[in-house]
């Protein structure tokens, strides 16, 4: 069946093709340092997307997602560095560690919502951090775990970049399918009004557990990608700032979209690396950006663009970022 595509859809497809073409061409255009940052931003973007699936789609803002991704990374690191196991065992233990954390944390958090959810997830992330600095036998405490080698086949920086690009694009498509599936639509229902969803007969507690575990899966993948990129894992990957920066990236880029977190991650990664050349106080700058974005730019970059697009250029098209609840200008916030 052939149906004509709207202007909006055509523009989106065009941008996606351009983006992928740019991603594929990047190693021919930039230095190895910049490509390293690209890999970092892609992984950060996947991490921020997993946060946005919870925050922007289901209305469950989390401040502990790094606890899940780092559990996976520590699983890989432990097998590689302490046990000396091969790649399959590293990946298996990484996946199991990340998904176990996601499941346990999900069961803990599934009965809370709103600010309680934020508090509970924050505490969960902090507890993983506590383990990472104290459980020396497994985590190597402050020294972290070294001796984690990338698989030989994708060891070169540009090969690993392409591998990352492939995984991230595949995850992105999978996330796109999820958010447009009936499950994804019921998540939006959860975001707009949990009470109403329960009245309609949905088991909202189970729904929250599902989305938490699904988001945890993508966070797990981002953690595994990151540990092989750095070939190192330490408690700095679990600090609260690691989770908070994912939230900042999602909001800065545009919460409630999948492209937003990716844009946010690229902006933050590049700003951080450029700014760190000139000033030493990156956490202060990040805090200031955090406060300013929350005060004045909650709809983010994509939100601002889609405002202009749906109001000026293509009026009449359905704005996917519009929310039902009056007075709430940002999906999920």
């Amino acid at each position: 069946m052939v149906r004509s595509l709207s202007t909006t859809a055509l523009v989106k497809i065009g941008l996606a093709v351009l983006g992928i073409a740019f991603g594929v061409a990047a190693p021919y255009l930039f230095s190895s340092f910049v490509i390293g940052l690209f890999s970092l931003a892609l992984i950060g973007g996947l991490f921020a997307q997993s946060i946005d699936l919870l925050a922007g789609y289901a209305g469950l803002v989390t401040l502990g997602q790094a606890g899940i991704s780092a559990s996976a990374a520590y699983g890989v690191g432990y097998m590689a560095s302490r046990v000396g196991a091969g790649l399959p065992a590293q990946l298996a233990v990484g996946l199991i560690a990340g998904m176990t954390a996601a499941l346990v944390f999900g069961v803990m958090a599934m009965r809370s919502d709103g600010v309680y959810f934020i508090m509970v997830t924050l505490a969960q992330g902090m507890i993983v951090w506590g383990l990472s600095i104290r459980l020396f036998r497994i985590t190597g405490a402050e020294n972290g775990l070294t001796g984690i080698d990338r698989p030989a086949m994708i060891d070169a920086y540009w090969k690993y970049y392409y591998f990352t690009l492939l995984v991230v694009v595949a995850c992105w498509m999978l996330l796109g399918i999820i958010v447009h599936s009936p499950l994804g639509v019921s998540l939006k229902g959860l975001r707009e009004s949990e009470t109403r969803m329960r009245m309609l007969g949905y088991n909202t507690t189970a729904l929250k557990l599902y989305v938490f575990v699904i988001a945890g899966f993508f966070a797990t993948l981002s953690g595994i990608l990151l540990v092989y990129l750095n070939e190192f894992i330490s408690p700095s990957a679990v600090v609260l700032a690691a989770s908070a920066i994912g939230v900042l990236e999602a909001i800065l880029g545009g919460v409630g979209t999948l492209v937003g977190p990716m844009i946010g991650a690229f902006v933050i990664v590049f700003v951080q690396n450029v700014v760190s050349i000139y000033v030493a106080r990156w956490p202060t700058l990040m805090g200031i950006v955090f406060v300013l974005v929350v005060l004045f730019a909650r709809r983010g970059i994509v939100g601002a663009i889609s405002d202009v697009w749906y109001r000026r250029i293509a009026p009449g098209a359905a704005d996917p970022l519009s929310t039902v609840i009056a007075g709430r200008d940002t999906p999920g916030l």
Partner: protein, 310 residues
């Protein structure tokens, strides 16, 4: 399960736990850990009571409370170094953090009043700024606040030695706690706060200037956090990252005890303080993790905490 059976099971469980702990350590060590837990819980009480007051009234989760604690402690150090007076440092820190609270509430939080999640996120951004600025001003070395002379050394109770200062901390928390309970139950301010926790709209309709009450509550909570920074900084030492560490404990207190109630905070600090002290003594490698199990159980069984009101 009926409440009676619940209580009975808790008491039997607690007795079993005490018996198990006593097989692991001497009676002296047991009492030392009890006092360690209570004195740490006392510091947490100053934080958690303000945190819970702000949340109960305004539904604002002030995650900058840990940052307020840390900055309060550092201001205390500077004051003690300049004047040599510990009690003056308490006052100066508490007042400075009160001003910081006023600034935060009026300039940063008021524009997004009612947007609960942005409010939380803003306070976390603020914590990063406060923590990094403290690192820039006071450096990264662990620093204890010098204690006043008469509180140095240990108190000898029939051969049982325990630091004087920690008794002082427990006594302070007892006095402040009693004062807070009295204020909540007996004064006009307490009545307004209790009514505000239950129904903000109605109390505003009755002619109470709810905005002023909000600002006052936020400042009072900040006052307690600054006070806690000095009193806690003198035996926990101050170092970068402690803002989030102490915040984790405060969150565990309100998650276990329940938000919006002073009783919940009081119960929570005792539980969290004791769990932390015995956890550190028995399984030092898992010191944060010991908070995890009780929190998980409470969240699944009573998502609003043991004595939560909101």
């Amino acid at each position: 399960m009926s409440p009676t059976w619940g209580w009975a099971a808790s008491i039997v469980g607690a007795a079993g736990l005490v018996w198990w702990i006593l097989t692991k350590m001497s009676v002296t060590a047991f009492f030392t850990q009890i006092l360690n837990g209570l004195s740490f819980g006392a510091v947490l009480f100053f934080l958690a009571s303000g945190f819970t007051l702000i949340f109960g009234l305004m539904r604002i989760t002030n995650l900058a409370h840990g940052g307020f604690y840390l900055v309060g402690g550092y201001i205390g150090i500077t004051t003690v170094r300049a004047t040599g007076n510990f009690f003056l440092a308490m006052l100066v820190s508490a007042l400075a953090i009160t001003l910081l609270g006023l600034f935060t509430e009026r300039l940063l939080l008021r524009p997004i009043r009612g947007l609960e999640k942005p409010e939380v996120l803003l306070t976390i951004g603020l914590t990063f700024i406060l923590g990094d600025m403290s690192l820039a001003i006071w450096g990264g070395d662990p620093t204890p606040i010098p204690k006043p002379g008469f509180l140095n050394g240990a108190l000898d109770i029939n051969g049982f030695l325990y630091p004087r200062y920690r008794f002082f901390v427990i006594a302070c928390a007892g006095v402040v706690g009693a004062l807070l309970f009295w204020m909540e139950k007996r004064t006009k301010w307490g009545a307004i706060v209790r009514a505000g926790v239950d129904d903000r709209e109605t109390i505003a309709a009755l002619g109470v200037n709810i905005k002023a009450v909000f600002t006052g509550a936020f400042m009072f909570g900040s006052f307690l956090a600054g006070f806690a920074g000095v009193i806690g900084g003198a035996f926990l030492t101050l170092l970068p990252g402690q803002d989030f560490e102490i915040l984790l404990f405060a969150l565990a207190v309100v998650i276990i005890g329940g938000l919006g109630s002073l009783k919940g905070a009081a119960l929570g600090v005792v539980i969290v303080g004791l769990i932390d002290a015995f956890g550190k003594a028995l399984v030092p490698e898992l010191s944060f993790f010991t908070l995890f199990a009780p929190m998980a159980i409470i969240l699944v069984v009573r998502p609003r905490g043991l004595l939560g009101r909101v």
